[in-house]
Amino acid sequence: MILVALRGLAGRKLRAALTAFAIVLGVATVAGTYILTDSISNAFDSIFTGIYRGTDAAITGRSAITSSTSGQTDVPSFDESLLAKVRQLPGVAAAVGGVGGEAQLIGSNGKVISFGGAPNLGFSIDASQARFNSLTLVDGSWPRANEVVVDRSTASKKHIKVGTTIGVQGQGRALPFRVSGLVNFGAAASIGGATLAGFDLPTAQRLFREQGKLDQIRIASKPGVSEAALLDQVRAILPPHTQVKTGEAQAASDASDTKSFLSFLQTFLLSFGGVALFVGAFVIANSISITIAQRTREFATLRTIGASRRQVLWSVMVESTVTGVLASVVGLGIGFALAKGLFKLFDALGFTLPNSGLLLKPRTVVVALLVGIVVTILASLRPAMRATRVPPIAAVREGAELPPGRFERYRGVGSAALALLGFAALAYGLFGSGLSTKQVLIFMGIGALLIFFGVGLFAAHLVVPLAHALGAPGARFGGAPGVLARENTQRNPQRTGSSAAALMIGLALVTLVAMLAQGIRSTFFDAVDALWQTDYAVTAQNNFSPIPAADSASVRNVAGVQDVVGVRQGDARIFGARHSLTAVDPGASHVFTLSWTEGSQAVLDSLGMHGAFIDQSFADKHHLQVGSTVRVLVPSGAQPSFSVDGIFKPPTGGSPFGPVTVGSAAFDRLYAQPTNLYAFVNVAGGVTPENTRKLEHALADYPNAKVQDQQQFKDNQAAGLSAILNVLYVLLALSVVVSLFGIVNTLVLTVFERTRELGMLRAVGMTRRQVRRMIRYESVITALIGALLGITLGIVLAVLLIARVKEINVAWPVTSLLSFIVVALVVGLLAAIFPARRAARLNILQALQYE
């Protein structure tokens, strides 16, 4: 029987390949994701261990806010006098102190040199302590005062030569530096796309405004001194708010941010692979169902010559398992190519990922193969069960059809119940009380899965009316092909339903994403409109990085400027939980109009050193009113108290302010390097080209800052959202492609099945062109059914989700929704190309004789 299965597979190569393609894509995504993230993670590991080369222990500042394991918050620096004390410890052979931060190199065009989103790293180098130095000099010399060394990769891309002068911006305005040398990181020319800028210690301290301070001390122990002994000695002399760790532990802690981002990226990408596989399961189930229906007589014959039901089941399962194995292996290979291609693609886009070779872990192979095979087997289980129900007598019946499954008559009720159960699970996840985030996600996931499954199965019952309506234009204006195409889609509603359902899933998710994005965008715009009464805003070039407070202050001296109001942000612990603490400059009442429940606009200007205003929900949660005291713990360990002067209600789309906002004067005393998220500027005469020019001129020395008016500000802030949206579209396109293949497959099989009928139609005078058109119409109707179901479902899901999330209102992305319908149309047309050609090519005589 295995022979029968394998031969059957070999005899239907095209069909098998089309079926398998659905799995190939899904497995490729899963494998590609693992390979990509593993490789990046591996590259980062080697970078971070490289950084701590020769380091047995490292001292850093300790944030008062987070636990000691994570370095995400602003870590306070410490006094450099500690270095001398460390060097005197008996177990210490050598120690070196350093500072670091964001250092932007300014290109010859006056713009910041930046590759994609990669960081611009600046740090001090102590060239005399070679054992700690992970950089190797490839040209020139190590930096002295007012000199900089730059990584070779950046230098060659931007034509930076030793001896030339380059602008560098740290904290404060950009300053000119002489390029003293070019360096490699270890043997590599670069770390991903990061730019590297190394200085001597005093220069770096000045650049990062850390005069007399250090961010880190690295220590090498004397031979024979154990790690534990070294740590003990260091601990004995540590001042408050500092900590010591082993070199490895420090490397791991530095890597933790990157690691958690990578693990997020991995889950994120895998979930799209999962969607593609889920859609693939639909495609496979449908393809196998059709193939089995066409082989009814074959199965019946097998039964008459002694095959048992179990053997029939086996032969189908062997066939699909082999398909699954082959598809998964191919998928794994394509996944490898995909990861390689993504590295190249990102590189071409200027977003270089650290890459020290592709890493194929055994886990990747196991998971990818397992997932592909299991999905294929699960998807073919139902059709295989139906094959066993073929009675032997079908061998002698003309035009024998697959008997309906045992549960066929419950299909309508059952699938509707499944969908309803899905909605119930989703609603419970969204609105149930006392669920953890994880539980919410699990319920939502299960709910969505059940909904798609239920609606997918139920689609068969919607096909007839939908095809009737959607096929109406074709039937009316398309002549005989139009009429026949409409009839054909209704002929086997289950088949059409399943093909459409596969497309439905992809389009439902795309619609959901578009609805959410539109909701977020429009509520954000509404919020800006409600709050904003200023002429200009100043932000970082990338729209979201905080910029040093000093940058925006420089516009204060521009003639005609009336108000410059910075909004600062920093980490803090308030009532035991981590929040961001925000701060505003006096004059804020001229740039914002807040909706006050207690207090008034005047509060904005009179916060001083001890005043604060809070938002309504924070006030409700902690039972605060005007006059209450709020105590705040900041990273440096200080715990100032503020009195509540006002309570405001932010618009639905949020505000620039966190739960607690204090005066900028108070903030600047608590945070060593205060940064602004935004600065808002009012100028006499409002927004004019002249004013814009003057402000831009004032910011010329701060290349990282940019000036924008209200509309630009809105667009820029929404740009990040558009970028995310585009990434999501690309990832979801994968499942749409899978469903496209589903339609192709169904059509090819249908054409094959109707060979005799097509021959008859051609014999009675239908032209090739008409045959092609008929298949095309059928394909488009199927795709449009999928689009209609998908878009409707997507809207329903989005409305449910938005009902739960208070920060978003429902808004209609009309253009996007219309373009999805166009996409479906195109999918339909593309899917029809190959089957239509096959149908038109049929030789009339052979088709009529076909048995």
Partner: protein, 249 residues
């Protein structure tokens, strides 16, 4: 089992077979009470006009369908209450099929098609038997071809070899010449007759071709669901005359 075979020489028995299609007023009785014994080693032909119930009778005898009442005994086993698995066992051990449309598996070679019943049963063919069978049906040179590469007559030869390969108790042939031209039909009929004479293969053939019927040892005539005539071996003219009697003009 063997004993009962020997006692009356019958390998297939039908007892008061009734097959009703549909229910209530629209019910149609295709068979209205058939009693029959098929003798070992003989070729029995069932004839009758369209709608006489001859195909239904064969389906019931071959365990493809279940009677409304009455029962069938094959090689001493009463089929009535057997489960699907047990019926499958009976098919493997006792029944071979030859179909009007050949029903070969298109992806298997002629050779593989012939061996299929044994493959399914997990048995190995007796090499000598297999080779003589292939030679006997006249396929020796064509066994590596796929059905699509064979003529209709050759395909039916493959089908006959497939039916014979497991040496079943009885071979059922359903209009084996219905899809062939007259010259090829003659060859196929000869082959079937030969299998009865050479191997003592009990065969039941349903046909409406008088020439096909004339090679039989016994000819049963069905009309309106009843056996109306039971002839021994007869000439085609006699068969034709009997047929014309059944179809009043």
């Amino acid at each position: 089992m063997e004993g009962s075979d020997r006692a009356n020489g019958a390998v297939v028995e039908a007892h008061a077979l009734v097959r009703r299609y549909g229910e209530g007023e629209t019910a149609v009785d295709a068979l209205r009470g058939i009693n029959l014994e098929v003798a070992r080693g003989k070729l029995t032909t069932v004839m009758g006009p369209s709608g006489s119930g001859k195909s239904t009778l064969m389906h019931l005898l071959a365990a493809l369908d279940r009677p409304t009442s009455g029962y069938v005994v094959i090689a001493g086993t009463r089929l009535g209450e057997l489960s699907d698995t047990e019926v499958t066992k009976v098919r493997r051990d006792h029944i071979g099929f030859v179909f009007q449309f050949f029903n070969l598996l298109p992806m298997l070679t002629a050779d593989e098609n012939i061996r299929l019943p044994l493959t399914i049963a997990g048995e190995k063919p007796d090499a000598g038997w297999y080779e003589s069978l292939v030679k006997e049906v006249g396929l020796a040179a064509r066994t590596s071809h796929r059905p699509a590469e064979l003529s209709g007559g050759e395909q039916q030869r493959v089908a006959i070899a497939r039916a014979l390969v497991s040496r079943p108790t009885v071979v059922f042939a359903d209009e084996p010449t219905g899809n062939l031209d007259s010259r090829t039909s003659g060859e196929i009929l000869e082959l079937m007759r030969h299998s009865v004479d050479a191997y003592g293969q009990t065969t039941v053939m349903v046909t409406h071709d008088p020439r096909a019927a004339s090679i039989a040892d016994r000819i049963l005539f069905l009309n309106d669901g009843l056996i109306v005539k039971d002839l021994p071996r007869s000439e085609p003219q006699v068969v034709l005359a009997a047929m014309e009697e059944l179809t009043p003009t």
